[in-house]
């Protein structure tokens, strides 16, 4: 039998644990006798067409363990989404290097690339094993309980809102935090796990799974502010109106008209700033602050779920095991088994390729501005051990002495 010649690449936005999956494949391959070589492509599929390969066989196990614990794609990444011609170029390079296993760590775009590649390889009778290793902070892959990378990003969002809530409680006002996730609201919903006490924020959560109506939003904020004397709000960057138009561009359009097109609107801070301006001007609240979590939520160094780490490692290891033992193409999927444990399955590539999962209805509260207990039970075990926990002084009020009306 021909020896296994393995290529690994990483695509799309990085995560805190994407290198665990890389180490998972490379270290597992070291235990397989018929593995001839293990290469890494720099910057995803772009590195394949550029023949920009590293020989990962020359990496020490020690360093691979250290890299595994380092966030962001160690091989570099790409936003390229290959079409058929691009895939044909990829195959020519793989053939030249006699690569017969390609592991691509990425989201649903990357799985679609593998689907096209596998069909093209079959057509050319080129024996190429294509295995997709899931990764995305958006948690938007279908047929997966969750995706590696999401738990750590969710932990960041939960910790960020736990802190922002305490900050807002000490200096009351309105706080808007904008979270990544254009179509799937999982990461924004994770803000709910930052709550502890009944009056903790986020008091309102806006997800892309529900239509955003500005008037309703302002009424919600007004009500929460009256009730709590403050209001912490989690907003997905992907909120949109009934027609699907993003709110960022709707609000921005008004500004563009006023500004004769001179104002930048696609900047990361725009949605938060525009929502804050609406709250300030329409509700007449003075202290209104907006933060856009931006790249911090996916690349902050030092906020990682240990559950996410071990699962990201395992999907890499399982990918290699599936390639060796099942002898077919596919995508590694995480299935929950018990509370809490997981199993892994190899699904056909077209099950997940190019599809987008969004939050299931049972995870979103009837109000549309909160999550359900089912979501809390779903996310809690993924956040891992050692979550920080906040405490309050217990109220022992002192009787007033002076004439209160004075």
């Amino acid at each position: 039998m021909q020896s296994r010649r393995i290529l690994i690449a990483q695509g799309g936005g990085p995560t805190a644990v994407i290198n665990q999956s890389l180490a998972g494949v490379v270290l597992a391959a070291r235990g397989i006798p018929d593995v001839g070589l293990v290469y890494g492509a720099r910057n995803g599929v772009r590195g394949i067409v550029n023949e920009d390969f590293l020989d990962l066989g020359q990496e020490t196990g020690s360093n691979l363990e250290l890299v595994a614990n380092t966030p962001s794609s160690a091989l570099g990444s790409t936003r390229d989404k290959p079409d058929l011609k691009y895939c044909q170029e990829i195959i020519q390079v793989l053939q030249a290097h006699q690569i017969n296993h390609f592991f691509y760590i990425g989201g649903n775009d990357s799985s679609d690339t593998l689907r096209i590649l596998s069909l093209e390889a079959e057509k050319l009778v080129f024996p190429l094993r294509c295995i997709h290793i899931p990764k995305t902070i958006d948690n938007d892959l279908v047929s997966n309980d969750h995706t590696p990378g999401f738990p750590s990003a969710a932990r960041f969002v939960a910790q960020a809102f736990a802190g922002a809530n305490l900050d807002n409680a000490s200096l009351p006002g309105v706080y808007v935090g904008v979270v990544m996730g254009r179509h799937a609201g999982f990461l924004t919903a994770a803000s709910a796990l930052g709550r502890k006490f009944p009056d903790d924020g986020p008091h309102l959560i806006y997800l892309p799974e529900r239509v955003f109506v500005l008037e309703k939003f302002l009424a919600d904020v007004k009500q929460a502010y009256q009730r709590f004397g403050r209001c912490v709000i989690a907003v997905s960057e992907g909120i949109h109106d009934a027609s699907g138009t993003p709110i960022a561009s709707l609000l921005a359009k008004t500004v563009e008209r006023d500004a004769h097109g001179n104002v930048q609107l696609s900047g990361n801070g725009a949605l938060a700033d525009l929502l804050c301006e609406e709250i300030k001007s329409k509700l007449n609240i003075k202290r209104v602050r907006g933060d856009t979590f931006g790249y911090l939520q996916r690349s902050f160094m030092g906020c990682v779920s240990d559950v996410d780490q071990r699962e990201a490692r395992e999907v890499g290891e399982k990918a290699l095991q599936f390639a060796v033992h099942e002898g077919r193409n596919g995508t590694v999927a995480i299935k929950r088994n018990g509370a809490y444990s997981v199993d892994y399955e190899l699904l056909d590539l077209d099950v997940v390729a190019g599809k987008t999962r969004v939050m299931e209805d049972e995870l979103i509260a009837a109000s549309g501005t909160d999550v359900t207990d089912a979501f809390r039970l779903y996310l809690q075990p993924l956040l891992g051990s050692g979550m920080p926990d906040g405490f309050r002084l217990r109220a022992h009020p002192v009787a007033k002495i002076r004439n209160i009306s004075g």
Copy 2:
């Protein structure tokens, strides 16, 4: 002798360790026999004039320890900066409750409030001991080696830039991160501690201690981008032109004119977005991203320096000890003693009150866009133990097989 009746309050922006100082005073007071009571004022000086006190004598030691480890002001805070009349009201309430010790945890505004109060109490022959306990993420108190709260915020900024640098390396482009600190650049400079390898970002650091010239900035970015194929930039929110006008409002003014005043400019995201727009349009770089760290950098839950925690606890404890043993008003100051240890001193209130420390020249590189080794040596021990550390794959390139020119 009259028993000691103690009041504690917290003022200004919260920090990750401000409750350590609160616990430091309260727990130390429990060991002093002549302490009659320990109250906390809710929401700083505002809570004093409102007679909104908690009896901290009824708090358990256990809960105080848990609260000490919780970020943000547990007593609530205020932005009120009392004038003489406000201070006279405060004194009336203190007299009514026979409070004879006031500990105010805050920055230079809070120390100035104590200065006014102490003068007024003296005038009224009211025996009030006024002790300022330092706290500020800006690190801008004079006569202090550093201030509690700064090390944890600096750690957040260093970890954030370490991660943002890795993210930027995997998907190259320009990244602008805007950091808090209107007059003092210490927190922005902390971004330099996120670097490890010689080509790591931040490649450029802009501090409020140096005049910001937009043309120079664009030339710097162009040069760094050409050299590294990417560019990570740390910018203080307080950058200003030669006249002292903040860049945010300079860039914003242009937009305001275009927009006939309809665009919000004071929002947190504005400076990052405006600088990104300048880079995109003037340097013709496609992938330009801006993040504003906003409230995350001072309130993120789960990013704290253990050195900061223990020092914040000690300044509280020392404040009480100074009040008991020195019998005079003052502000507790941190003095560095060895590499690394600290001592505490009680300085007169007017030494720090209302004054602002900025970065000393020897901490800023001659280029004006970096820090010196002296700054690295200064900050490193403050960040505490367990700083995350990033690793890279070692380059073992594979020879190309295909005709490179093809």
